[in-house]
Symmetry: C2
Subunit: 485 residues, 2 copies
C-alpha cells in the first residue's frame, strides 16, 4: 500500500470527495496504481488528507460503483484488474457462483449509470439540465436539528410499523399545506404517502387496474412515460396546443385516464387556462372510470403572475388524482411523495391495496412533519424561490440581445426556460453548436413521445439553471450567445 | 378548554402516551369531554404532565386516527361530535368537497385499522401473537448516535438521489453479511434494496410478468398470499408434508414459480431437508422461467441445532430469488428489505425496471450500513437471540405438564411455537377456552389457504411470545394450563 498524495482544492467548486475520486481514478488509468494494489483505509486516508471519513467513503463508493476498485471483506480496498473494469471480475466473485460464465455480458452498475445519464458523459463544462435542483441552500442544520430532537424524544413507538397510508399526523399536515398553497380539497384520509412518485404510480396501477388506456401530453415528462409503458398501459400521446392537452385530441383518443401537468407543464411551461381545465373535467365527468392524474411536480416555484390553483381545486366530481413530491422542493434523497385519491378510488384502495405496508419510515415521516409544521418548509421555499429567480434573471440577462433570434418562454415558473429559434435553425444545429462551446442544452424533441407535434417544431431548446451557480450561468450564456448569434 | 388531570403511572408497563390516550378516550366516551370542546395544546399538556411533547403528540395522533378528536388548522384539537365517531365528520370537512354526500359509508382510518387487526379488539390480557417483535431491547442509543454522526458528516451528496438499486456500499455490506451468515452467493450487483418486502414483491411482479402461476406452501404466510392475489397471480396452495412443500404437489400444480420458506417455514416451523431442497431446485432447473422465491424472513433467530443455510446457497443454476428484511431483526419502522436476483432476472430488471427510483432514503441506507458494518447488528442479534430464547424457555416452562395433551413443535427457531392437541380437541375449542381466560392464541387454520391440508388438521394452535414480557408469558401460560388441562 502506498500513500496517496492528493492535493485538494477546497474552493475549486468541486466537492472534496469528487477530487479524491478523480485523482485515484486517474492514477489507476495512468497505471500509477497497479491492479491488485491495496488502497489506504478510509480512516487512514481521511486523517492523512484532513477530511471527514465520509468524504473518503463517498470517493471509494464511487470508484467501487464504477468498477475501478473492489472491496475484499476484512482486507480492504484493492485496485481491480484493468481488463475487468466495467465488468464482473473473476477475482472477488463469491465461491459457488456457477453461473459465472454467463455474467460476462451483464452490464455493471457503472454501465447502467452511464446509460441512465445519456451518451457516456461528454465533457460539457456547462450543463443546463432541466432535471436538477440546487441543494446548496438546503437547511442542513435545521434538518439535522429536527432529526436529533426527534430521536432524543423517540420511544419504541416511532420504530414500530405505522399506518399503510402514512402517519395520520403527517397526512394532516400535508392536507393543510395543500389546501392553503394549492387549493386542494381533501381529508387526510384521502392521502397516501409513499416512497417517491414511481412507487405511488405503481400503487395507482393496482388501483386503476391493468387495462388502462392513458393519454399523455406531448411533449411530456418522459420518466412518467417509461413508467406507464412498463405497466403495459396503452399510451396515447396527445399534441399540446398553447393551452395544454387538446381536449379534442383527448376525446379522439378513447383514453380512460389522462396524465397532465396543468399548473406548469413539463417541459413546455404552459399553464392550462381555466377553460381547458373545465373541458378536461367535463370529459372525465362524462363516464365512470375516467380520471385525470394531476402531477403537480414543481408548482412551488412560481416567480411571476398570480398563483395557479391546482386542477383538483376545481374538481367537483371526484375525478382528479393529485400527485406531488418533496423531491424537487426539499431534496431528491427525501423519498417522500403523496397522492390524493378521489373517493371512488380511495374505496378501491381500501379494498384492494390497504394491506401494502407503508414504504416510508416513521422517523422520516416525523422529521418531514416537523419540517413543514414548524414553518421551515415555507421559509425554505421562499429562499429557494428567490435563489431560482435570481438564477433565471442571470440567465435571461446573459442572453440579452438574443430576443431577435429566439422567442423565450416558460419563465414564469419552474426551473428551466425554452428558446424557440426564429430563424429556422433546428434544435440539432443549436445543441451541436452549444456542445462545441462546451455547453449542454436540451432539444425539445427529447421530451416528445412518438411523432413530434407540428406545433412543436424541432426548433426549440430547453435550458435548466437550477444546479449551476451564477458565474456558470453567466459564462454558459456568454458562450451560447457567441455560437448562436 | 379545561385542564386534563391525568394520573400517569410510569412503571405500569403501559407507555405514557398510551395512558394519556386511554384517559382522554375514556373521558370522551363517558361524556366528560363534550363534543366541540377544545383539548389543551400538545405543548401545554406536555408541560402540565411533565412528559415530552412527542408523547402527547403520539396520544393525540392515536385519538385522531381513531376519530375521537379532530384537528382544526390554526385552532387546535377538538372533540369530535359523538355521532360522527368512526366516520368522516361534516364539520372540519374542507370547503369545496362536493362529493361529501358520498362519503358517509366510507370507512375511516380507524375502521380500517380495526379491520386489519381482526375482530374489533376483544379484551385479551395476554396476546400470544406470532406476528410481533420485541422492541424493548433495541439499541436506540446506538441508532441515534450513528444517525447523529452521519448527519454531522453529511454533505449534499447524501441528500442527492442515489442508485435505483440502493447505494453500492450498503449492497456490498449486505452481500457480505448474507454470505457469511446464510451462505448466500451473490455480487452486490445482484441486490436490490427496497422499502420493505411488499414493495420488493411489486417490483418482482414487474420482472416476472403478469401471467405467473405461483405455488405456495399451505399453511403459509397470508400476507404474501394477499399480495400475490392482488397481482392476480394464479395461486396453487401446495400441502406441506413434514419436509415442506411437496415436490409431487408442486409438479402437479403446473406452477412457474414457488414461494417457499425453507429455513423456517411460517407458521409450521419446518426446516426443509436437503433432499427436498434438491427436488425443488431440480424442478426449477427443468424449464426456463421456473423460479423459487425464498423468503428468509426470520432465519436470524435460530436457538438450537446447526445453522440452516439458505436454499440460495445450493442453487447452481440461478433459480432462486432470495428475499430478506430488517423489519423483524431490527425494527418494523426501518423500511428496508432486499432481494437477490439470479442473473437471468437481473438482466430483465436492468432492461425493464432499473429506471424506477429507489424507495429508501440515502440517509437511512447509510445509517443501516454503519449499523451492520460496525458490528452493532451482530451484537443486537446475539442479544435478541438470548432474549427470545429465554422467553421461549419461560413459555415452555410455563406449559410444563401439558406434553401429555399436546405435541410441541417449532421451538428450534423463530418467535412462536405450535401446540398440536393429542386428544382431538379442535383449534376452535382451544382458542375459545383461551379467550375466556383472557388469552389470545391463534389457530393454524388462520394461516391456511383454501382447504386445510389433511396433515394439518384443525387441532393446532400457535403461540408467539416476542412482544410479551416474562411475567406476561408466565401468567398467560398458567391460564392456558388451567383451561386446557
Amino acid at each position: 500500500m502506498k500513500d496517496l498524495t492528493i492535493t485538494l482544492h477546497p474552493h475549486s467548486g468541486k466537492h472534496l470527495y469528487e477530487q479524491i475520486y478523480l485523482h485515484i481514478k486517474n492514477e489507476i488509468r495512468k497505471g500509477k496504481l497497479l491492479q491488485g494494489e491495496r488502497l489506504p483505509s478510509t480512516r487512514y486516508l481521511a486523517e492523512f488528507l484532513q477530511v471527514s471519513r465520509s468524504t473518503v467513503e463517498l470517493a471509494y463508493e464511487q470508484l467501487l460503483s464504477e468498477g475501478y476498485i473492489e472491496a475484499r471483506p476484512y482486507r480492504g480496498y484493492f485496485v481491480c484488474p484493468a481488463e475487468e473494469l466495467y465488468d464482473f471480475g473473476e477475482e472477488g466473485c463469491q465461491a459457488g457462483m456457477d453461473n459465472r460464465a454467463k455474467i460476462d455480458d451483464m452490464p455493471s452498475d457503472a454501465d447502467i449509470w452511464k446509460a441512465g445519464e445519456g451518451e457516456g458523459k461528454p465533457a460539457f463544462q456547462y450543463d443546463f439540465s432541466p432535471n436538477t435542483i440546487d441543494m446548496s441552500a438546503f437547511p442542513y442544520a435545521t434538518w439535522k436539528k429536527i432529526t436529533k430532537n426527534i430521536l432524543v424524544d423517540a420511544n419504541s413507538e416511532i420504530f414500530a410499523s405505522g399506518s399503510p397510508k402514512g402517519d395520520y399526523i403527517l397526512r394532516e399536515t400535508i392536507a393543510h399545506y395543500l389546501h392553503i398553497s394549492r387549493g386542494v380539497n381533501c381529508r387526510p384520509e384521502q392521502i397516501i404517502i409513499g416512497a417517491g412518485n414511481d412507487y405511488l404510480l405503481m400503487l395507482l396501477e393496482k388501483i386503476l387496474g391493468r387495462h388502462v388506456k392513458i393519454a399523455m401530453e406531448n411533449p411530456t415528462y418522459r420518466r412518467a412515460y417509461r413508467i406507464f409503458d412498463s405497466f403495459a398501459y396503452r399510451i396515447s400521446p396527445i399534441a399540446m396546443d398553447r393551452s395544454g392537452m387538446s381536449a379534442k385530441g383527448l376525446r379522439a383518443s378513447e383514453a380512460d385516464v389522462a396524465y397532465v401537468m396543468p399548473s406548469h407543464q413539463y417541459p413546455t411551461g404552459i399553464v392550462m387556462p381555466i377553460g381547458r381545465r373545465m373541458e378536461l373535467l367535463k370529459w372525465a365527468g362524462e363516464k365512470d372510470g375516467r380520471y385525470l392524474i394531476e402531477d403537480d411536480y414543481d408548482s412551488e416555484f412560481r416567480f411571476r403572475g398570480k398563483p395557479v390553483p391546482s386542477l383538483q381545486a376545481s374538481d367537483r366530481l371526484g375525478k382528479v388524482i393529485y400527485i406531488g413530491t418533496f423531491s424537487k422542493s426539499i431534496a431528491p434523497a427525501i423519498r417522500i411523495g403523496y397522492m390524493v385519491l378521489p373517493l371512488p378510488l380511495l374505496r378501491i384502495y381500501e379494498e384492494k391495496c390497504s394491506f401494502y405496508s407503508t414504504t416510508v419510515s416513521r422517523i422520516d415521516q416525523r422529521i418531514l412533519n416537523e419540517f413543514i409544521g414548524k414553518g421551515h418548509f415555507e421559509r425554505h421555499l421562499n429562499r429557494m424561490r428567490k435563489i431560482y429567480r435570481e438564477k433565471q434573471d442571470e440567465l435571461l440577462d446573459g442572453l440579452k440581445g438574443m430576443e431577435k433570434f429566439f422567442a423565450v418562454s416558460g419563465e414564469n415558473a419552474g426551473l428551466h426556460i425554452l428558446l424557440q429559434d426564429k430563424r429556422g435553425r433546428s434544435e440539432e444545429e443549436l445543441t451541436d453548436a452549444a456542445a462545441k462551446a462546451g455547453v449542454r442544452v436540451y432539444g425539445l424533441s427529447e421530451f416528445c413521445v412518438g411523432e413530434i407535434a407540428p406545433q412543436w417544431k424541432a426548433d426549440t431548446v430547453i435550458l435548466g439553471y437550477a444546479s449551476l451557480n451564477k458565474e456558470q450561468i453567466r459564462e454558459g450564456a456568454k458562450r451560447l450567445r457567441s455560437v448562436w448569434a
